[in-house]
């Protein structure tokens, strides 16, 4: 087990090196001049050159890459735009995104797992039909569209919730209000697939022998579903949630833009637009690392719910 975790973390190193090279190439392929974006349209050629020299943009590419890598790992890669350490810029923004993602995840789980279970039990019923349709509609609407509509209804028309922005951590009362709309609109992405997966894996498990045995033994229907079926259906559901982490990040990029949310997704997009090369570099590497680690955790959670899986 420990070996497994270590190996997974070791694999992270070549992956990150590859990613860093890859993103570096993309950054350098991107037309545009970080110095120009920083100084603005009125900048003179002399000022531009000065800035380029300051950020080492005048050096050969391979030296720029190694410099970037070196500084990144030393922890003093500085964002051109924020003039701060890239890592601290990202870490400062991370809670907003992680909390948003977690809130969306929780909403999705709270809604979709019961919905999926009921759909599975009452297969082909009206409830099943409706919840499946809603689930499918959920992933068929662009996430930014749901965001605007929610904002329009709940903030502008009803004036119940703040329209946009970040009001502090989710566990503060003030902050919580700000979380509701973006988290709901982001949770749509997850809800659909989780509901459908819960339904189909419960259905699959129900048909297996040990469930039949349990039923035949006279175990109550409720406990059949909850204890036996659900426990065994959990593995694919957890896998799916793990896979959705990428989806959350992607959705977050759009949701954060709609709700003027100070998260990592928007930071990364703005960094790309502003040609803040070190920050783009840092964001991508950081997000990738988070993704890999979250997936590692998901894999470990498997072992808890399914003792048959071991990683030795």
């Amino acid at each position: 087990m420990l070996n497994y975790i270590l190996r997974r973390l070791l694999i992270l190193i070549p992956i990150l090196i590859f990613i860093s090279l890859f993103i570096f190439v993309i950054i350098k392929l991107t037309p545009g001049d970080p110095a120009l974006v920083l100084l603005g349209e009125r900048a003179t050629e002399q000022a531009l050159n000065q800035t380029r020299i300051k950020y080492g943009l005048d050096q050969p590419l391979h030296i720029q890459y190694f410099k970037m890598m070196e500084n990144f790992f030393k922890g003093d890669l500085k964002s051109i735009n924020y003039k701060q350490n890239v890592i601290s810029v990202i870490i400062n923004r991370l809670p907003a995104t992680l909390e948003l993602g977690a809130a969306a995840l929780v909403i999705a789980i709270i809604v979709s797992i019961p919905a999926g279970i009921i759909s599975a039990i009452k297969r082909n019923s009206v409830f099943d039909y409706i919840s499946m349709s809603i689930a499918l509609l959920g992933i068929s609407i662009p996430v930014f569209y749901t965001g605007i509509i929610l904002m329009y209804i709940f903030a502008v028309k009803l004036n119940w919730l703040p329209a946009s922005g970040y009001g502090g951590h989710i566990w503060t009362t003030e902050g919580f209000k700000y979380f509701i709309l973006p988290a709901i609109s982001l949770s749509f992405v997850l809800m659909a697939s989780t509901t459908r997966l819960t339904r189909s894996s419960i259905l699959e498990v129900i048909q297996e022998d040990y469930i039949r045995t349990a039923r035949a033994k006279g175990v109550k229907e409720k406990s059949v579903i909850l204890i036996h079926a659900f426990k065994n259906a959990l593995v694919p559901i957890v896998t799916n949630i793990g896979n959705q982490v990428a989806g959350i990040f992607a959705g977050a990029v759009l949701t954060e833009t709609v709700f003027a949310w100070p998260g990592v997704g928007r930071l990364a997009v703005n960094a790309i637009f502003r040609r803040d090369e070190p920050l783009v570099f840092g964001c991508v590497i950081f997000l990738s690392a988070v993704y890999v680690i979250v997936n590692l955790i998901v894999d470990l959670v498997y072992t808890l719910i399914n003792p048959q899986i071991t990683y030795d």
């Binding site: 694999i11 070549p14 992956i15 590859f18 990613i19 890859f22 993103i23 993309i26 950054i27 392929l29 991107t30 037309p31 545009g32 499946m132 499918l136 509609l137 992933i139 068929s140 609407i141 662009p142 996430v143 930014f144 569209y145 605007i148 329009y152 459908r196 189909s200 259905l203 699959e204 990428a246 990040f249 992607a250 990029v253 759009l254 833009t257 997704g265 990364a268 997009v269 790309i272 637009f273 783009v280 964001c283 991508v284 997000l287 990738s288 690392a289 993704y291 890999v292």
Partner: protein, 340 residues
Amino acid sequence: MISKYLIVLLGFNLLTLIFSLSKATNNQDNLISYLIFALLTLALGFLINKVRKTNQTDSNIQTTSNLTWKKLKRNKNAVFGLIIIIILVYISILAPFIMPHDPLEMNWGKTIQKPSLEHWFGTDEFGRDIFSRAIYGVRIALGIGLLAVVLNTLLGTFLGLIAGYYGGRVDNLIMRAIEMWNSIPFILMAIALIAALGTGLLNLILVVSITGIMQFARVIRSSVLGLKKADYVLAAKVMGIPDRQIIIRHILPNCIAPIIVLATLRIGEMILTIAGLSFLGLGIQPPMPALGSMLSSGQQYISENLMMSIVPGTMILLIVFAFNLLGDGLRDALDSKLSN
């Protein structure tokens, strides 16, 4: 069984062909539509012929594809999705013939109008007809979606086949690359790539088509891993059939099922990704009518004319929804585990 539906479609095609013949040569766009439509009609005729033949010979024996079709037909959702897709495909091919207005024609005196007899869904901020733009938008969305999916499928399947079949170092290399690819949030990747390559239509197709490869390759690889241990693959090896041929003749045809399912589900995702990029201003560039850009500019007029956002929004929803329905149905039909 299938031929009954096909004959109805063929009849429809023939009638429309005759009807639209006069309009066919107006411009390049119409001509392309007309040619595709004529090809479609030919293909339908050919299909009817083939279906009839097979139905005559073995009526009692069920081939796999026949069985799949039957299961699919029993799935009401999938049939519903399929019908929507067929209608959308027809709409997009016939777009130049059925649009009431030129989707690009501006009218400064009639901006942001509510629905009327002349403009069924009203007009947008340039006085352009929303209905015509939506129809044309569906055409572009489907065109791009299909093209990107084909590219995506080819690349993903190729990588998956190679990784799964050769295993070892090749597999390791490809899977690591996929893992790496996978760990970069794809929308960021798309944004970075579009920023690097520029916002052309071709670039857009390229970028969205490479963003979904990993999922594809992974699934194909795992089914290849199973298939390559099948005795008929071993038999082919013993017979000295070259690897390339084994992959093409024995492995590929047997993982068509997951490929079809994945590809169907991908189309929806791609259209959503393109819409998302349009929202950030990186999608299809104006003046070409694109659903995503229509939607995101419609949002600016949400209180003036709801139609500006509802129409493209609904169209996106319809396309994605239909493909998801069909994809789900196909998965159920092709997956033996849930078949009964």
